[in-house]
Structures are given as C-alpha cells and as structure tokens.
Symmetry: C2
C-alpha cells in the first residue's frame, strides 16, 4: 500500500462515526476502530462525510472569478447575453487559464472532486478556449477531474463550420458533444440534433444539450432527443441541461416527458435557477431518471451569482423545490454526488471499498443540516490525499493558488 | 460629545472612501479626512458601508437556532405545519428566551440592527410567548431593536378569545396587530379584517397581515385590506407579508392590485420564498409601494432553512427576481435596509448626519458584490459602538453569547 491514510471518527452520510482506510488512491475499508498498521491517522472530529461533490454543469471559460467586480452588461434577454458574450470573448480569451484556474481552486476548496464544463467552440474561436481548458485540466489533474463539452454557444446550423471545430475538439480530448436550443437558436431541430448525435456516435462521445426552450417548444425538442437516444442505443450517455420545459408544461405532458426520459435513459442536469422553472427532481428520481446538478455560470458574463459550492447549490435546489423534510433535502445532495457521478460516467463514486478516495467532510449533524447550513469549513481529499483543509486545521490552511 | 468614534476609510453604498464621525449614538458627519479631535479612530480598510439591515419578518418564538438539528416533522401542507406548531409549542415554550436569544445573537453578527418579529398569541398560550420576547428585547436593547407583532397563528375568528389576548399584548408593549389569511384560515374576510383594523385603530398600532392566499382568493383579501387602510387613514402603517397572490394572478389584475397598494399606502414584505411566487419587487418599487424583506422562519418548526443573514436574503430576493444588473441587485439591498426602515416606522435610517449610528461594513467592491457574495466578515455598530467585528479583528472576536 502506498500513500495509506486512515481518517477516523467521520460519519458517512450522517451515520454513526467510523474510520476510513485509504491506500493507492482508493478506499480500502470503512469500519469503526480499523487496524491501520503504520498508516498516518487523521481525526475527523465527528464530521459528516460524503463522496466529493460533482459539479455537472460549469462554464469555466466564461468566469470572472478572481477578477475585480464587473457589472453585468447584457440586456435582459438570452439573445442579449449571447451577444454580450461574443463582444467580451475577444477581450477575455487570453486570460481563460487564469480565470478558470481561480474558479477551479475555489471549487476544490468547497469539496468538488469532478467538474463537467462546457467550453465555447465556433469557427472564429477555433480551439482557443478548448486548448486553454485542456491546460487547466492538466494543471489540476492531481486535485480534480475535469470533463469537457464542446459547446456551440453561438449556434450550430446557423453558424457554419461549428460542427467541424466540435469534431476537432473531440479529437483534442474533449469527451462530450454539446448542443443548444435546436429550435429557438438554430430554428432546425432535426438539423442540429442529427449533427450532434452523428458526431457523438462517430466519436463514441457523450452528449449534453442546453435546453432553455419553454413549454411546447422545449417539450418537442426533448422528445426528439429521447427518440434519437433510443434509436442510437445511447442510453446513459445523453443529458439535457436546464430542461425548463419540464416546469412549464401541464402535468399530463410533464408525466409523458418524464416517462420518455426514463425509457430513453436521458439524464437531466439542473442548476436550480432562481427565476426559471426548476425540473421536478422528486418525480424524475422516482421515475428512474438520473438527475445531476451544476453551478452553471459562476460570476461570469452571464450571471453575477454563484461560488462553486455544490453544498450551497444543493440547498438552492432543495429550497426551490419546496423540500422541508430531511429525506427530501438529502435527495438534493444525493443527486449532486451520485447523480453527478452517473452522468459523468464515473465507474465508482461511493463511500465503500474500491471507490476512489475522493471525499469531503463538513461539520454537520445530519445531511439536511449540511445542505441547509452549508458551512464554509471543509476537509477535502482526492485520491486519498488531503488537498484542502479549513475544517481540522486552525487557523485554516491558506487558500489554494494557481502557483502551488 | 459622548462615546465619539470615527470610522475611517469606508465606502457608503460602495461610493468613494470617506470617514464617518459618530457621537451620542448618532452620525455627526460623513466626509473624507474628517477632523475628529480626540475621538478614537477605526480604519475600515475600504469596506463597503450600509445602514444596519432590517429583518422585517421573523418568528423569534418558533426558532430552533442553537439547538441540535431537528428533522422537520410536519406534513406537506400549511395546515399540517400549523398543527405541528400546536403540538410542539407546549414542549418548547419554556425555552423561548434561550432559542430566540440565540437567533438574535446570530442576526446581530450578520449586521441586522432592527427586527420585526411575529409572536404567537391565542387564549391557551395567553401572553407567554409575548412575555418571553419582551424579555429578550429588553436583554438586547443596547444591541438591536425588536418590534413585535401579536400574531393569531391559530386563527382569530375561528379561535374565540384570541382578539382579547391580542389587545392584552398591545397593552404589554407589542406594537403591531397581526392577521393571517382571513379567507382560507378564518373563512371570514370581513370578520378578521374588521377585528384587526379595529384593534389597531383603537390602540394606535400598526398592522402586518400574513397573506399566503393565492390567486383570486388572495387578491380579494388584498383589496379589502387596501379599502380598510384608506377608510381609516392608516397609510404607511399597514403591511402585507408574503403576498403570494401578486405572483399568481394575471398581469392586468396584478397591475390593479399594485395601484391599490400604492394608493392605500400598504407595504409588502417578502422573504423571497423558494417555491411560492415572489412579489414583483421592481414593479412595486416603481409604483411607489414600499417593499421590505424578512427572514420569515429561521431553522424552526416551519422550515429548516435560513441563517438570519439579510445580505444572503437580499441575494435570494435578487436571484429569485431574475436580477442580473448591478442597479437591480442594489435595489434588493435597498429594500432590505431602507424599505425595512420605512415599514418599521424608523424616523431616520440613512447614511447621513442625524441618523442613528447603526451601521454594517462588509468587504466588497460594490453593493452588487456584497449581495451576490454576502461575505461572512462583518463590522457591526449600534448607536455608534462596535458590537460585533469579524472583519477588522484577526482572529475574529468570539461569537456573541446570551450571557455577556
């Protein structure tokens, strides 16, 4: 065993205190009073232990994290935000690694172990954003896993040449094919979706499509995504992000959509929006649809909110869903950790022997308390190694910086 | 001048750095490079300065703050939560001062200078909760102002004898007459409202009515509240809390309701709910309706959420309202500080000479950043005296306790 460590006196998902033995980057065993031989020991002080959290929807290339405050400059519509994005990107593309790196540090310090990030691609940009985020991924590889999505923010059919750049992104190491509002952005549902699914099929990639479309418009797009997923046998490899339409159609239509998602094996990723409809997490979960959660934009050209804390995001999801009972609030965190792991295709991401020793401990009695209070103090382990600690150290270790 | 203090290098509402001279509990002057004579000086380090925040809707007697985590035990409806409340109250009434005191300490440490709290009254309880909160108010009088509302949580018309206890509460020092859902709880709009307004008129008290009723039901109640406010000349002394109906009627009806509120001088208090409609803050503000913000329940028998931080609550209001631009996000904090002061009837609560020196400083460049990030570090002054400091002291001063 190399790099062995035993973390004593922690409470997995709020259960009774136990010990976790780690070695070779993985969990070796979990039991009270474990004989850990010569392994170094750490007393967790009864903190609540969960697997490291999964942020299943970020836009690392757009963040302004670590920069001076910048007033939001876009108009009130989504189209205005896309236009502002286009205007900003030339000013911002030289600092992608710096800005994204600062946000990745913040995410690590909050206990996020896995990020799935969209990255803008289109002909004029080429792979500039992709290359920057591939470098960030490399720089932080020992502390966090980053999965990337080639994202046609500025349209796919309406922006010719984008599909070729997306293919290039996949060849360069991007794992997921993105899409966005095939009807309202591209005005060509079949055209965009056939391109997206064709590319994913050819490159054995996953799919993650932004769907802001509301009501019937979104429902039709969702149905077509489910159809293509079934036809290509891509169950478990396709996700729809946002899915506002699930909260803006009537109950009968919503029920049919949920069944279609379950049958096709299409997952839903939400950021718990403030002013758009939140997908019905409990109904989706009950129907067997995998639900994951992401930050979406974190203090960027799209939104001034967010701090990459997925415990706080779980609180927002629970609060927006009207959850009050502990069991429901716990579901909000389960989908963050476990749903996120499923969407990202992680083979094992549980608190048991054999899973990677990617862990987060937080001072709370119950999972519900951890979510509702989301205390700032965290102990974060990656591959069995403490990589951030503001819980046990006093004073806390300094913040992560890009240069360490 | 007694108790003079000069706070240097702070930025009022994010403006350029300046100095604030305080004496005799009030602001004496605000200007850069103030000559403060022999007065002690404090360097604010460029922190953003706002008036102390107003929490315009709490339930101090119901909180479980400072207690071990307690799983939410009520069923999913409002009626179930009222029933659970009835069941809990006998177990909890001996610890009101302890629980409420713990929450008041937390509120002070977050920069709240004024609380308006509902307190349950009904025949069986008598004034037990009122007496406990009057004692809490007295104990914290030098650090926070607490205004109380005699709240008929368990019905007024349907729970005979309640009005008499409410009258007794007013005689004991409670300032505001409460009410709740005159149609859905009491089934007698005119009956409840006539009792509430009659009592307030007789005792020269203010009015604050919980209105959860949705759609038409709530709109009718709101119209009747406006009518009575006009008839009795009570403009500026009546508030409606929650007002979910404003977000659940069509645009034309909403416009008429907003005009009625503005004409009658009836204020709206919101807690930025997660799963119920949020009142349209910008439309209300534009029409001249005073808007204030409160925590509502903080980790209590009704809800597991909240931490009495009105900066975080302003963030929730802005997030739920879809605000992205700095000017809109600043409005969310303006209604917390200024709208709250107006609803509570505070004569002066601004950053200018003559106002009480009730201040809060927080590390942020702009008001929007203070709201979006709501940093935990705060410097809190009441009557020109530093009563909490986790901003300038390092390490922070210990948390407030009941016994100091």
């Amino acid at each position: 065993m190399t790099g062995a460590l035993v973390l004593r006196n922690v409470r997995p998902w709020g259960a009774d205190a136990t010990d976790v033995l780690m070695a070779d980057g993985a969990i070796v065993g979990i039991a009270p009073g474990l004989d850990a031989g010569e392994a170094p020991q750490l007393d967790g002080g009864g903190a609540l232990l969960v697997p490291s959290l999964v942020d299943a929807h970020m836009h690392l290339d757009k963040t302004l994290w670590g920069q001076p405050w910048q007033a939001h400059r876009a108009g009130p519509s989504r189209e205005a935000r896309i236009a502002a994005d286009l205007e900003m990107r030339l000013l911002m593309q030289d600092s992608i690694a710096e800005r994204a790196g600062a946000l990745v540090c913040q995410a690590i310090s909050m206990g996020t172990g896995h990020i799935r990030s969209h990255v803008d691609v289109e002909p004029e940009l080429g792979l500039k954003h992709v290359d920057a985020l591939l470098a960030v991924r490399e720089a932080f590889a020992d502390r966090i896993d980053i999965q990337l999505i080639a994202f046609p923010q500025f349209g796919l059919i309406t922006n010719p040449g984008t599909a070729a750049v997306m293919a290039g992104a996949l060849d360069a190491g991007v794992e997921v094919v993105g899409g966005i509002d095939p009807s309202s952005i591209d005005g060509d549902r079949a055209g965009q979706l056939d391109t997206v699914f064709g590319l994913a099929d050819k490159k054995a990639a996953m799919i993650d499509i932004h769907l802001h479309e509301m009501g019937d418009e979104g429902a039709l797009s969702m149905e077509m995504i489910c159809e293509r997923t079934r036809a290509l046998g891509m169950a478990g490899r396709v996700a729809i992000s946002h899915a506002f339409c699930l909260g803006s159609v009537d109950a009968a239509r919503r029920g049919r959509l949920i069944n279609a998602l379950a049958e096709a094996g299409v997952a839903i990723i939400t950021y718990a929006p403030g002013a758009s409809p939140v997908p019905p997490v409990k109904d989706l979960h009950k129907a067997g649809v995998i639900v994951a959660v992401g930050s979406d934009g974190v203090r960027d050209t799209w939104t001034p909110y967010g701090n990459a804390d997925m415990l706080a995001r779980a609180m927002m999801l629970a609060y927006r869903s009207g959850f009050r009972r502990d069991v429901d609030i716990e579901l909000a965190l389960r989908v963050v950790a476990e749903g996120g792991a499923q969407v990202l295709g992680l083979a094992a991401h549980e608190l048991k022997a054999g899973s990677p020793a990617d862990l987060m401990a937080v001072p709370a009695e119950t999972v519900a308390e951890a979510v509702c209070c989301h205390p700032a103090e965290r102990l974060v382990l990656k591959g069995g190694r403490v990589i951030f600690d503001s819980l046990l150290s006093n004073p806390p270790v300094p913040s992560l910086s890009l240069n360490e």
